[in-house]
Symmetry: C2
Subunit: 194 residues, 2 copies
């Protein structure tokens, strides 16, 4: 039933989806949907939650905390893109629909914050291993950028059924790691004339 919701929401968008169509897709009647999952808004949040949780679990399960940073990042990215590739509908619901609708931005902010926390923790861990340290804000910014870039590529992937998730993960890793790798070595770029 949530599956039906996710399918229809991703096909039509939150507003374009009618409860009739969702009920139809699930093979039951509308009052049943209301009986089990409440209003349209609640139904959407339920879908959002489930897809988000599944994704988090997929990533957390892949990126074991005792691995070296690049390996962790790679596995995390691969799990992420693998998930998006396999659940294009779910991704569309999560990040396209939820982002556009002011009603759901709160939910989404929480999820992203958790993602950023994970990534920042990864970088922090790698830095401490080398005896270096960086202000928390600095890490947060880098993590934000990486998460944003990854989300963006996930969108790219979701629009291209022929694209390979594995290959996309590798590309992302190139951008993320070669950038982050330099940063971890203490190399920074400076604005000209600054």
């Amino acid at each position: 039933m949530l599956d039906a919701g996710v399918r229809v929401f991703s096909r039509r968008g939150y507003h374009g989806a009618s409860m009739d169509e969702i009920a139809d897709e699930a093979g039951i009647s509308k009052p049943m949907v209301y009986a089990y999952l409440g209003t349209k808004e609640e139904l959407f949040v339920a879908c959002l939650h489930r897809e988000g949780t599944r994704m988090m679990e997929a990533i957390a399960g892949a990126a074991a905390p005792d691995l070296p940073a690049d390996e962790r990042l790679w596995r995390g990215l691969r799990a992420f893109f693998g998930f998006v590739g396999a659940h294009r509908d779910g991704w569309s619901v999560l990040y396209r629909q939820a982002r556009a609708e002011p009603l759901f931005t709160g939910e989404l902010t929480v999820m992203r914050a958790r993602m950023v926390e994970v990534v920042a923790g990864m970088l922090d861990h790698a830095l401490r291993a080398e005896g270096r340290e960086v202000a928390e804000t600095e890490l947060e910014v880098v993590a934000y950028a990486l998460v944003g870039a990854t989300e963006s590529l996930a969108d790219w992937l979701a629009d291209r059924p022929e694209a390979d998730p594995e290959k996309t993960a590798t590309r992302m890793m190139n951008v993320a790691w070669l950038g982050a790798g330099q940063l971890l070595q203490g190399i920074t770029w400076r604005p000209p004339g600054g």
Copy 2:
């Protein structure tokens, strides 16, 4: 009048915005809106178009094509940040709305092509200067990642009034350039055991 549209659309979202409210915001009556700009859908496209064009011009104007690649990227990024920062309720919000709504995917494809053209063209130019060449898809992916990261940082910035835009742009440049810089040198990361 388009200004009113942009304001209301970004405040309420595409569906949440009513033509009455837009007309009210513009200080005229609804039939006037229809007389000048047609249906709600056409109005939205017009807003999207204008904001997108403005942003493109801001970036293209800042990043002169005869500069070295890092300088171009830096100026482009700064212009991008400046624009998104100054038009917080403008382009990025509309863009988000458009992505969620299947109605606008066509229009969006065109805009995206132009965006990618600007960012990827920058990278492509740098590559050709070194006599190297990379598949168009490859460039598109990198461009996507960079734009996504930048948007994400713009969000980060918007939530923190005390943060410095210039400094944030520098951080973004660090991630983007040190990553892209390595890539331009032909250095690529490979998956372990691949």
